[in-house]
Subunit: 101 residues, 2 copies
């Protein structure tokens, strides 16, 4: 199992339309067959601790069977179309790819 | 649903015993009732891209029903014992808490 966790910082965090547009874009990724699960998030109302980074605006949590499937996803036309349509919305994106031990 | 994703950087990334000790410590958290799922990871062999941070050593991915359950987890004696036993192993820990939208 492989987890692909992505954090987005919007150019304008106050722009609700941009946020909705990004969330709709991430939703469109569900059409990609190799995705085992997809969850979309925003910062949770957990306690304010030094180790917690709650500065992101939207997060995307994907599960794949393997790193090979993640590569298929990266190159998939639906993913490429999402990046092309939405990349103007974010200022920064940060990805953590974890393989289950 | 609430996702609690934690990334650890070991004091000595080459210390296999420290890595195993940390992984065993994270495994011990499974005893905490409010955890819906727990996955332990290390950097996946995905492509080297500017947006991907693969510098961490161990990752921990927890799912809770709510932020309130995450708080119960934080204060749980099994979690406190884990932190006390293992915090000497890591140099840095980074947490992202996401609430499903």
């Amino acid at each position: 199992m492989m987890l692909h966790n992505v954090y987005f910082w919007l150019k304008d965090p106050a722009d609700a339309d941009a946020r909705e547009c990004l969330i709709a874009g991430v939703e469109s990724l569900r059409a990609i067959e190799v995705i085992r699960s997809l969850t979309i998030g925003h910062p949770a109302p957990t306690e304010d601790r030094e180790v917690v980074d709650s500065s992101f605006d939207v997060s995307e949590h994907l599960v794949f069977d393997s790193a090979a499937d993640q590569k298929i996803y990266q190159n998939h036309p639906v993913h490429r179309a999402f990046v092309e349509r939405c990349e103007g919305l974010w200022d920064r994106v940060l990805v953590y790819d974890s393989q289950e031990v």
